[in-house]
């Protein structure tokens, strides 16, 4: 299973890049909110309180967090089946996502979408798609619209390493490049696509090279290093806003849990424990917290407090969800169309 591609290099190496203390704190808080959100969901799935299939983002928090920190609130974001982290990092309402995952009427999609279909138009999330590559062409569309409008709004689309196996990725990349659209592809290369490791699906480990061939600029960032991701994202955002065309950022990272949580897929013989442990050692949150303490940007107590606040917020969202009503069965066919009678 664990070929050389799956062995992580050294832990994330942070450089103090002169971010303001409140920015450092925000990055930490966002990653922690995502972590707690996902790990509590894992418990709740095991307890059978959550039914909708949840593809957990644990381990990948630095990618969504770093990228979204470089965006404006009205920039567009598209995601995948594994988008809880993207939604939270972009500023989607945490309670509304939790309620959606609980299948409640108060959910962001009113209980119609479940875990894989989150929406928050107020922060540029027009909906996440659970069809692999489904977001690619649509995200080119929001970029196209804003380029026609001549606005400064850009689009970011997150996708897994499996997505370039679909034709849609290539068509979308070519179209975005040839029209020099303000879009960023963020490839979260977590080395697996369901049960298959990267080397069983591709001859070459070269997703950025493919993007380059289509006319993209490309950047690489350690997907467990939020500062490195942020720096790459800022560069790509600058390029996009300047009308200089699309960029692909490849972030190498790892999902701790199995393809569809809460298990680890070790029992199924799909990954080995050593590999998971090695990546857990590179925990994006633990190392960033240590860096902040070492650099005296935050105290240990402040770091712990951020964690506790995340825990409290997630618990509140769970209580809120549990107290929320289920959608009314009589409304099942509502919202198919917009307009009269709906």
């Amino acid at each position: 299973m664990s070929g050389s591609i799956n062995c992580p290099p050294q832990p994330p190496q942070f450089r103090n890049d002169g971010l303001r203390p409140d920015e450092h704190r925000k990055l930490l808080a966002t990653m922690m909110r995502i972590r707690v959100f996902e790990e509590r969901i894992a418990d709740l799935v095991l307890e059978k309180k959550i039914i909708t299939p949840c593809h957990l983002y644990t381990g990948q928090e630095a990618v969504a967090t770093g990228v979204c920190h470089a965006l404006n609130s009205d920039d567009y974001l598209f995601g995948t089946h594994r988008s809880h982290g993207h939604y939270l990092a972009k500023g989607g309402n945490l309670k509304a996502a939790m309620a959606e995952i609980f299948g409640r009427a108060t959910g962001c999609s009113k209980g119609r979408g479940g875990s894989m279909h989150l929406v928050a138009p107020e922060v540029g999330i027009l909906g996440t798609s659970s069809i692999v590559s489904g977001s690619m062409s649509i995200s080119v569309g929001t970029a196209l619209a804003e380029s026609i409008r001549g606005s400064q709004r850009i689009t970011v689309v997150f996708h897994g390493d499996g997505v370039p196996e679909e034709g849609s990725w290539h068509e979308s990349a070519n179209l975005a490049a040839v029209k020099r659209l303000p879009i960023i592809f963020v490839c979260e290369n977590n080395l697996y696509c369901t049960h298959l490791a990267l080397d069983k699906r591709r001859v070459h480990d070269n997703i950025p090279e493919m993007a380059k061939a289509h006319g993209f600029k490309t950047l690489a960032a350690d997907g467990n290093n939020v500062l490195e991701v942020l720096a790459a994202a800022r560069q790509a955002v600058k390029t996009a806003r300047a009308g200089e065309g699309p960029t692909l950022i490849e972030c190498r990272t790892y999902r701790w849990r199995g393809h569809v949580g809460p298990n680890y897929d070790v029992d199924l013989g799909l990954r080995d424990q050593q590999e998971i442990d090695a990546w857990k050692d590179r925990c994006p949150i633990k190392h960033f917290g240590n860096f902040l303490v070492d650099e005296k940007i935050m105290t240990r107590a402040e770091v712990d407090k951020v964690w506790q606040e995340a825990c409290a917020e997630v618990e509140q969202a769970i209580s809120y969800s549990l107290a929320s009503p289920y959608p009314d069965a009589a409304d099942v066919t509502k919202n198919v169309y917009r307009g009269a009678g709906q």
């Binding site: 209980g111 479940g114 679909e166």
Partner: protein, 323 residues
């Protein structure tokens, strides 16, 4: 004969086809995966190797097209899609190419491919992970479509699909995977285009598809207690449809309920209605009743799923509307 599950019956059909016909191979996403195809491909890689049991990248279009191309050379591929929702990415090779090929080239080349589309719904998976678009494919000239509702038919129809000289879409349903019945140990065919009477009755005909066959049987047992005698027909092959069987039953009962778990507009149910109205208008005692999914995408929340998917109670209600 051995009592086995629907999933095991599919597995056995694959195994026996691979063992008896060297032209057969299996290709699709997740043959090696513990969850993608239930247990239906269990052990096949170990027995037949990765040359004939092929897991793939996530490339529905290329994988389906490649099976179609292989079929043109005389192979008998089974290409499967772990969910029918993902199969939409392969519509071009299926509809523009595979289905039209034999006709478009004047019969010079045939395409004996079996496309296995799996219906996997429920448990709050929502619109993109729940679909069962049987009717869409029935609409396409050049395709045959089967939808087994029992372990016996699951095995026999897969064998018949692979042995047919034309493209056949084989739709199996994960809601049925645990259903058990006696199935012959040897390889056998259930002929394409032949429906079956699952239960004889005199007052009303229920034509049911896929998981609704089981629900129709439950409904019929319940209605029998209330003095209504229901004949349950499973067409098994949706295209070409066994119209004689349906028409002769409705001629006898004078009442028809069509229970097909698909969206209703321009559907198999519409087609059967038009057939029956066209041929038996004078002998119907009342108008045809329908049990379908609503004209609406599939919702996630359990409370909505319950309202969305019909069951035996929906069938009982439809029958009662006729009396």
């Amino acid at each position: 004969m051995t009592v086995i599950s629907y999933a095991k019956a599919i597995n056995e059909a694959h195994r026996q086809l691979l063992a008896t016909d060297e032209r057969v191979f299996l290709i699709g996403q997740g043959v090696e995966s513990p969850w993608c195809v239930g247990t239906t491909t269990l052990g096949l890689v170990e027995q037949f190797g990765t040359t004939r049991v092929i897991d793939t990248p996530i490339s529905e279009l290329a994988v389906t097209g490649s099976a179609i191309g292989a079929a043109m050379t005389g192979m008998r591929p089974i290409v499967f899609h772990p969910r029918m929702d993902f199969m939409y990415l392969a519509l071009d090779p299926i509809i523009n190419h595979c289905a039209s090929w034999h006709y478009m080239f004047g019969g010079a080349v045939n395409v004996p491919v079996t496309i296995r589309g799996i219906v996997n719904r429920g448990n709050e998976q929502a619109a993109q992970h729940s679909q069962s678009p049987y009717s869409l494919y029935c609409h396409v000239p050049g395709l045959k479509v089967v939808a087994p509702a029992s372990p016996y038919d699951a095995k026999g129809l897969l064998v018949a699909a692979v042995r047919d000289d034309n493209p056949v879409l084989y739709i199996d349903d994960r809601w049925l995977y645990q259903t058990e019945e006696e199935v012959p140990d040897e390889i056998y065919e259930v002929p394409l285009g032949k429906g079956k009477i699952c239960r004889e009755g005199a007052d009303v005909t229920v034509v049911a598809v896929s998981y609704l066959v089981k629900e129709a049987m439950t409904a019929a047992a319940e209605l029998a207690k209330q003095g209504i005698s229901v004949e349950v027909i499973d067409p098994r092959t949706l295209k070409p449809l066994d119209t004689d069987l349906i028409l002769s039953s409705v001629k006898k009962t004078g009442r028809l309920v069509i229970a097909d778990p698909d969206n209703p507009i321009c559907s198999l149910g519409d087609h059967i209605s038009s057939l029956v109205y066209g041929s038996l208008f004078g002998s119907l005692k009342t108008s045809i009743q329908r049990v379908n999914l609503p004209d609406c995408p599939v919702p996630a929340s359990t409370s909505l799923e319950k309202a969305y998917f019909p069951n035996y109670q929906s069938i009982i209600a439809a029958v009662k509307r006729m009396f």
